[in-house]
Amino acid sequence: MSAGTWAYDGSLPGLAALVLRSLESGEAPEAVLDAALKRPSAEEGWLWPEAAARVPLGEGALSGREGEAALDALLGASRRLYAATLRAWMSEESVETELLGLAADFRARGELAFADYGRPSLRRLAEALRRVNWEVHKLEGFARFSPRPDPASGGERYVALLEPDHDVLPCLGPYFLRRFGRSPFALVDLRRAYALASVGEELELREGKDLEALMRPETEGEEAELWRRYFRATENPARAHPRLQRALMPRRYWAQMVEMAEKA
């Protein structure tokens, strides 16, 4: 690994710290290593050797107060850069290098850095982030909730099961928090085996046994069947355009959608 490689622990504050570093120094590395994906080793010439020593897999080098400080600093420096960092972190594609290139360019040129579509690295980043945004926007619409018993609160919790292409729950959580008001709800990411559950006005992470507790069978009710009947009744066979329907609502979402599940 060359000296032009930076590393971070895979956490959002960790990535924010790298972005701040690029922002302040005007430099960007040739490659970025996400330590959560690979265990670091002493021979590999890290830029931050102390970080490598402190990071066991899965734990953050920046946690708690330090992490929050890094995020606040980035938000203060540039809202757009913060938003880009959040989406780059959520993305399953590796675009950290392009993100740091943008940060370095931002120091030199400010907002113009976001407009320079002549640069291939900016285009790659923009396209990857657009895919993350698309996933968030689609799931805001396609997430389907069903009420399940919630022994902890003694009532019901509305739970949605999702299989997102990117790690988008951190964006969906606040959206549904505003939508549900005080009704408890939860978003379950089946692919990454974790959930965000609302507790009052906060979101909590649920894993393992707590995650299983969220996925108890649905409360009986006719609402799902009523929705299916409604959806079928709005069909207009004279204007059928299945290709357009699949382009706007790809098949991979159908398994978790009440009205499409039978065709998935």
Binding site: G141, E222, E223, F231
Partner: protein
Amino acid sequence: MELGEKLEILAAGARYDASCASSGSSRASGSSRASGSSGPAGLGRGVPAGVCHSFTGDGRCVSLLKLLYSNVCRYDCAYCLNRASSDIVRASFSAEELVRLTLSFYKRNYIEGLFLSSGLFSDPDAVMAKLVEVARLLREREGFQGYIHLKVIPYASEKLIQRAGLYADRLSANIELPTSSSLGLLAPQKSGREILGAMRFIGEEGAERREDSRHGLKAPAFAPAGQSTQLIVGASPDDDRLLLGLAERLYGRYGLRRVYYSAYSAVAADPRLPAASAPLLREHRLYQADWLLRFYGFRAEELLDEERPNLDPDLDPKSAWALAHPEFFPLELSTADYGQLLRVPGLGVTSAKRILGARRAGRLRPEDLPRLGLVMRRARYFLTLYGGSLSSVAGAEPSRALLRDGAGRTEAPSWGLKARLPGTQLEFAFP
């Protein structure tokens, strides 16, 4: 009749109303509704841009629970599935059923809210009052903050329309047919003047409230998402020039947010109506032209005139305009302003904004252009970059053949309509 069957009947009855696609509203969540909300903690909130929760088999966005309160109707409009003389099964909801459906579907994230219309099962005020009651229960008793779109029943009193605007995000009254002659033939019980009067009232109410709040007076918002309407295309011989001209006036003078164009679907065998459904392509061209009016700075008279009163089926309206106006081109990409860029075929709003940004950031190269979103297959004949032509065939003139596969036309396109109603000027007097 059980709820599921009613739901199917009254959903099918509502599906020909296209005037409901969006669900975006600027109404602040938690804002005080009329006479103070004492309901439970609010459920839901308005979002600035609409959310599509699903898509139908023809690719239409499903955002709202779109229903008729009742499909019993006294009127006998020739083009309507629910007209009095049709022998379909009739049904009606109760207000409680609608409230329950809306809330449970909203919590499950099936919908952003409710779109409610109705047949005329009683006199207009009685019908309108029922619709307003459903909205009132949702807002005041249930604390519902999601989207509500109410239809304005023709001839309903202004007092009721006022109340509707306090609870609804959007109101709409469908014009359906663009001239008083076609309306008189196909829907004689409706009055174009009446519908326009209601639209003007809604526009003025909204404007008054916004003016009041600008002056610091506390006034609840009136239909913050504005109003929309629908025009049926192809049920009458009215040409595209009439339709587009009317749409332009509605946007300009009445402040409408959206006009929807619905291709006539031949459901009824009636001598007053065409035997065949209108081509969907015509609806598509009208939407393209509508976008040009709203976002691209075109005027209706630039797109259509007396000699060519219908949109070209083979070309999108912007390409057709560009071909007819060679004096405007070629445009120099490095210096053209936003309005000029929007006139280029294959160059949309997104590409134009990106060009402006990329221009400030550095020198543009021809190979960058497709990545900025330009459709070079069309745009290259109309642009130069730093003086150099962009079309691969040097100095090639754009022509119909180059812009679109399709046989050349000699006569003006007509969508196959032969008969013309007498007096084809717009006959509504816009006060």
